[in-house]
Amino acid sequence: MSSQSVKPSPSLPVLQPKDFASDQEIRWCPRCGDYSILAQMKKVLPTLGIPREKFVFVSGIGCSSRFPYYMNTYGFHSIHGRAPAIATGIKLSRPDLQVWVITGDGDALSIGGNHLMHALRRNIDLKIILFNNQIYGLTKGQYSPTSPLGQKTKSTPYGSVDSPVTPLCVALGSEATFVARSVDVDIKHLTYVLERAAHHKGAAFVEIYQDCNVFNSGAFLYASDRDVKSDHIIYAEHGKPLIFGKDGKKGVRLNNMRPEIVELGKGINVDDLLFHDEKAPDPALAFLLARMRQPEYPEPMGVLRAIEKPTYDQAVNAQIDNAIAKGGEGDLDALFNSGDTWVVE
C-alpha cells in the first residue's frame, strides 16, 4: 500500500463509526444500496488515523449526492456534475485535508464528465466514489450514460438507443492512477476497496455497483446475488491469477491480446492464466479487464490499477514553496516599485 496522504495524529482519541454519523435523518428509499455504502464508509474512516475535522465530503446532485449530509464531517453538497471541480479548489487550498467526492453515473459521466476526466488526469489527491445504478433516480427514472442499450425507462419508452460508457474505461482513459470497482452489498470487499482508495496518494476512482431498488431494481443482481455472482464477477488481486467460478475452476487467459475464458484442468493450469498486475505502468492490462462485460465475461472487482505518480496538489504547492525558497517571501512594496518609476515633486 502506498503511504497515507494525511498524517495520522496519534494523540487523538480513537474514533468509532458512530462518530461519523450526522444528526440528519437519512432520506434514501428503504433498502437503497446507498445505505450499505454509507455504513462501510463510516467503518473505514476511523481506521485511517485522521482527525474527523480533516475530512471533507463533496458531492454533486443526485441521490448519492445527499451522502455528505449524513456524515458528521465537513461537507459540501454542490451542483450537478461539479463536485470534482469544487473538491479541486478545496484540495489545492488545503492539502492537509482528505477530500472525498461522492457522485453518481449521471452526475460524474453525463453532466460532469469533463470535470471527472480532468480531475483524474491531473492526479489531484481526491477520492472519487461513483455510485453506478444505471439510472437517474432523483428525477425518477430516466436512462443514464451507463444504462444498457434497449433499456426501457421514462425517457426511453421504446428502449434506449444510446450506447453506454464503462466508467472504469473512462477513468483509465483519463490516466487515473487508481481505478477500482466493488458492489454495494459486498461488505468486506467494499470496505477493502474504500480503504485502498483512502490510502492512495493521488486521484482514486472507485465505481460501486449500487442497486436502485425503486427505478432499476436488480440491475446488478448478477454481481451481488450469492447464488450466481461467482460466475459473473472475478476478483482481481495483485500478483494472482484471474480465477473465478463457483469452485474456482474457471480462469481468464490472454489469446492474441483478447481475454479468453478457460476451464482449469484439461491441460490448462494456473500458470497459463493471466496474472493481475495493478502496478503495471501501462494501463493496457487494466483496460482489457475493464472491458470485460457480462454475459460474455465475468466483470472484474477489486483494484485494477494503483500506480504512484506525483500529485497535482503537491506540485502546485511545491512551485510556491520553491519560489519562496529561491526568491524569498513576496514583498508587495517592492513589486509596486519595480520597473520604471518616476517622482512628481
Binding site: 449530509y69 456524515m71 454542490s78 479541486t88 509596486f336 518616476w342 517622482v343
Partner: protein, 639 residues
C-alpha cells in the same frame, strides 16, 4: 483633445531643428497585426510615463492572431495620449499617425486631425497591398491627403534592411525590425530618450544578440532619419505633467486588477486562490497572477469556465481569498456556481472584463453591456454586490473593495472592468502597504482541547453548538473552515434552514432566507462611500456614468463646465447596492443624462429604482466614447 502648439516654438541649438513645445499629443501606430505595433506603442507609453507625462492608451487589435497579412481584418493599432496636464482619455483625434500599410491607412486615416502628421511606410504601398486593402490606386497620391495632412513618405522597409545589413539576418527578419525604425522616428519627432527601449530590446532578445542588435540599429536609424533628413523641419516636446506630487508608475487595468487582488489577500492575512479559463480580454489577469508564486498565489487554469467558478466555491469554503475572472461568454457559464456561492454565502470575487457581445461578439473590443447580466444573470432572487472600476489604475482599488465586501458580508461580489480598462494604461501613484489597513477576518475557533465549545466571535450567544447560518450585525454568517475541530458542518445548494443551515423547504423559512439574502446585500449600502458629484449640487443637467467611461465623460463635462454650462457629473463605482444618497442626487436636476456603451443598462436600473426619466447616450461600436460625443449631447440637452 490635444492642445495647440505653444505660441513661440523654441529655437534649438545651432545645427539642430527647432523644438516646439506642446501641452499634449496623440500618437497612433497602426499596421498589420504581425508588424509589432503593440510593442512599439507600449514602448512609447513606458518612456513617456517614466519621463513624467500623464498618459492614457487605447490598444486596438483584431481578434484573429494573424489575419491574412495586409488585409483590413488584420490591422492592429495602438493609440496613446501623453500630456503635460491631467488627462483622462486616449484622445479623440490623432496628431501623428504612423501607417505601415495601405490597410492600416484605410481604417485609421479618418481619425487623424486636419493638419496632423502622417508618416507612411511607402515600401508597403505596392499594388499587391493596395489591392488587399481594396484600393485601385495609391490613396496617398490623392491631393486631398496631401493638402489635409503633413505627409511623410518614408521607405521604412528598405532603410531598415540597409541599417541591419551585415548582421547576417534573412531579408524577412531584417524587414521585421521596421517597427523599431518607426518608433525611433517618432522618438525623434517628440524628443524622447531611447535608452530604456534599448535596455528593453537587450533584455527581450538576450538569447539572440544579433536580433537585439538589429532592432537597436533600426531604432537608431529611424531616429537619425528624423534628425538628418530635410523632410522633418521641426520636432516637438511635451513637458512633464503637473500631476499630484508622489511617486508614479505605469499600470494597465489587468495588471492593476491582479495586484489589487494580491494586495487584498495580504490585507486579509490570507493567500489568494485564482482560477480562470483563457478568454480575451481577461487572460492577462491569470498570466500576471501565475507569476506571483512567491506571494503564495495559487493559480488554477481550470478545464472550463464552470470548473473555474466551482473551484473558487471550494477554495472559499476552504478559507482562501477565492477569485475568478472571465468575460461575457465565460460569465454566462459561471452563473450556476455563482448561485451556489450566493446560497452557501461564501466570500468570493468574480471579475467580468466586459467585451462586445452577445455570444462571442467582439472579443477584443470594449463594451459595458454586462451590468444587467451581473445584476440578474442567475435563477431566482440571487442578489449580488457589484462594483465597477473607472480607470486602469482604479482596478487596483476596486479589486480590493470587492474582496473587502466579500469577506465582510460573506457573499460573492462582482467586479466589472472592460476591455478598454484592461488593456489601457495610465500612471498610478505607487501605493504603500503601510497605508492600507488590514481587513478583519474572523473564523470561529471551534472546540478547545478540553472539548468545550467556543464561539469567540460572539455569534453563537448562549448556543452550545455551531450554527452555520447564525448572522452577525451585518447579516453575515460565520466563515468556519474545514480542519477546525468541532465545527464540522454541511453546506450546499438546497435551501437552508435559518440559523442551523440544515436543508429546509418550509414556505415561511424560504421567504425568510430569500429576504435575508436580499437585505444583507442591500445593507452593504451603509458600508460604502456616499456618491460624490462634480459640479453644482442641483440644476439643469446631471450626467451619470459608470465604469470605464469615466475619462471621456469627465473630460466632456469639464469642457461643458468651462463653457459655463450648468452641468454636474456623478460617476458610479458601486453598482449594487447603489450609494444610499444616489436617489436624492438624481432628483435634484431637471434632466439626467446616462451615457453608456450599451443600450441602457444603468438607465433601466435608475428608472426602476428612482422613477427618474433619464435620457441615454448609447454608443455600441466596440469603442470608448469620444469626448466630443459627450459634449455634443450635453449641448443638445441644454439647448
Amino acid at each position: 483633445m490635444s492642445a495647440a502648439a505653444s505660441p513661440a516654438g523654441q529655437a534649438g541649438q545651432p545645427g539642430q531643428k527647432p523644438l516646439e513645445t506642446l501641452d499634449s499629443a496623440v500618437i497612433r501606430f497602426c499596421g498589420d497585426s504581425g508588424d509589432g505595433m503593440q510593442v512599439v506603442g507600449t514602448q512609447f507609453t513606458n518612456v513617456s510615463a517614466a519621463f513624467g507625462n500623464d498618459v492614457s492608451t487605447l490598444p486596438d487589435f483584431p481578434a484573429e492572431i494573424r489575419a491574412p497579412a495586409g488585409t483590413l481584418a488584420g490591422v492592429s493599432g495602438y493609440q496613446l495620449h501623453f500630456s503635460s496636464t491631467d488627462i483622462f482619455t486616449p484622445g479623440d483625434q490623432v496628431d501623428t499617425l504612423v501607417v505601415m500599410n495601405p490597410a492600416a491607412f484605410k481604417t485609421n486615416v479618418s481619425d487623424l486631425k486636419r493638419g496632423g502628421t502622417l508618416i507612411i511606410n511607402e515600401d508597403e504601398f505596392d499594388t499587391s497591398n493596395l489591392n488587399k486593402a481594396g484600393y485601385e490606386s495609391d490613396p496617398v497620391q490623392d491631393d486631398i491627403v496631401k493638402s489635409r495632412y503633413f505627409l511623410h513618405k518614408v521607405p521604412m522597409t528598405r532603410l531598415t534592411r540597409d541599417s541591419v545589413a551585415g548582421l547576417g539576418l534573412s531579408p524577412k527578419d531584417s524587414a521585421r525590425c521596421k517597427n523599431f525604425f518607426s518608433l525611433g522616428l517618432v522618438y525623434w519627432l517628440y524628443d524622447r530618450e531611447m535608452k530604456s527601449t534599448e535596455d528593453w530590446i537587450h533584455d527581450k532578445f538576450k538569447k539572440n544578440p544579433s536580433i537585439a542588435e538589429a532592432n537597436i540599429r533600426a531604432l537608431k536609424a529611424g531616429y537619425n532619419y528624423g534628425f538628418s533628413t530635410e523632410a522633418f523641419t521641426k520636432h516637438y516636446q511635451v513637458p512633464k505633467a503637473k500631476l499630484a506630487p508622489g511617486k508614479y508608475r505605469k499600470i494597465t487595468g489587468n495588471e492593476a486588477t491582479a495586484w489589487g487582488l494580491v494586495t487584498a489577500a495580504k490585507r486579509a492575512g490570507k493567500s489568494l486562490f485564482f482560477s480562470g479559463y483563457p478568454i480575451t480580454p481577461a487572460s492577462d489577469i491569470l498570466h500576471e497572477l501565475s507569476m506571483m508564486k512567491k506571494f503564495r498565489v495559487r493559480t488554477f487554469q481550470a478545464e472550463d469556465e464552470i470548473a473555474a467558478m466551482a473551484s473558487v466555491c471550494g477554495a472559499a469554503f476552504a478559507g482562501e481569498i477565492a477569485v475568478s475572472a472571465s468575460s461575457g461568454p465565460g460569465i454566462c457559464l459561471k452563473g450556476e456556481a455563482l448561485g451556489l456561492g450566493i446560497m452557501t454565502e461564501l466570500p468570493m470575487v468574480i471579475i467580468d472584463v466586459q467585451r462586445g457581445g452577445p455570444s462571442t461578439g467582439l472579443p477584443t473590443k470594449t463594451e459595458q453591456a454586462d451590468l444587467l447580466l451581473a445584476m440578474f444573470g442567475r435563477n431566482s432572487d440571487s442578489p449580488i454586490p457589484i462594483v465597477a472600476a473607472c480607470s486602469p489604475g482604479d482596478c487596483f482599488w476596486m479589486a480590493q473593495e470587492a474582496v473587502r465586501i466579500a469577506i465582510e458580508f460573506m457573499t460573492p461580489v462582482f467586479l466589472l472592468t472592460d476591455g478598454y480598462l484592461a488593456n489601457g494604461a495610465e500612471p498610478m501613484i505607487i501605493p504603500r502597504m503601510a497605508d492600507l489597513p488590514p481587513f478583519k477576518v474572523v473564523h470561529p475557533a471551534g472546540k478547545k482541547s478540553n472539548g468545550e465549545f467556543v464561539s469567540e466571535n460572539g455569534q453563537n450567544g448562549e448556543h452550545k453548538e455551531f450554527l452555520p447560518y447564525l448572522r452577525n450585525e451585518k447579516m453575515a454568517r460565520p466563515w468556519a473552515i474545514p480542519g477546525t475541530p468541532g465545527l464540522e458542518h454541511r453546506i450546499g445548494g438546497l435551501e437552508k434552514s435559518d440559523i442551523t443551515g440544515n436543508v429546509d423547504y418550509a414556505p415561511a423559512n424560504h421567504f425568510k432566507m430569500v429576504m435575508n439574502r436580499v437585505n444583507k446585500v442591500a445593507g452593504i449600502a451603509n458600508h460604502i462611500p456616499l456618491q460624490e458629484v462634480e459640479g453644482p449640487a442641483s440644476g439643469k443637467l446631471l450626467v451619470l456614468s459608470w465604469g470605464g467611461t469615466y475619462g471621456s465623460v469627465r473630460s466632456g463635462v469639464q469642457e461643458a463646465q468651462a463653457k459655463g454650462q450648468s452641468v454636474a457629473h456623478a460617476h458610479l463605482r458601486y453598482m449594487n447596492p447603489f450609494p444610499r444618497n444616489l436617489g436624492d442626487i438624481v432628483k435634484r436636476y431637471e434632466k439626467v443624462l446616462i451615457p453608456e456603451l450599451n443600450t441602457g443598462n444603468l438607465r433601466l436600473l435608475i428608472r426602476a429604482n428612482f422613477l427618474v426619466d433619464a435620457v441615454g447616450l448609447n454608443k455600441i461600436a466596440g469603442k470608448p466614447f469620444l469626448v466630443s460625443e459627450i459634449t455634443q449631447k450635453i449641448d443638445e440637452m441644454l439647448r
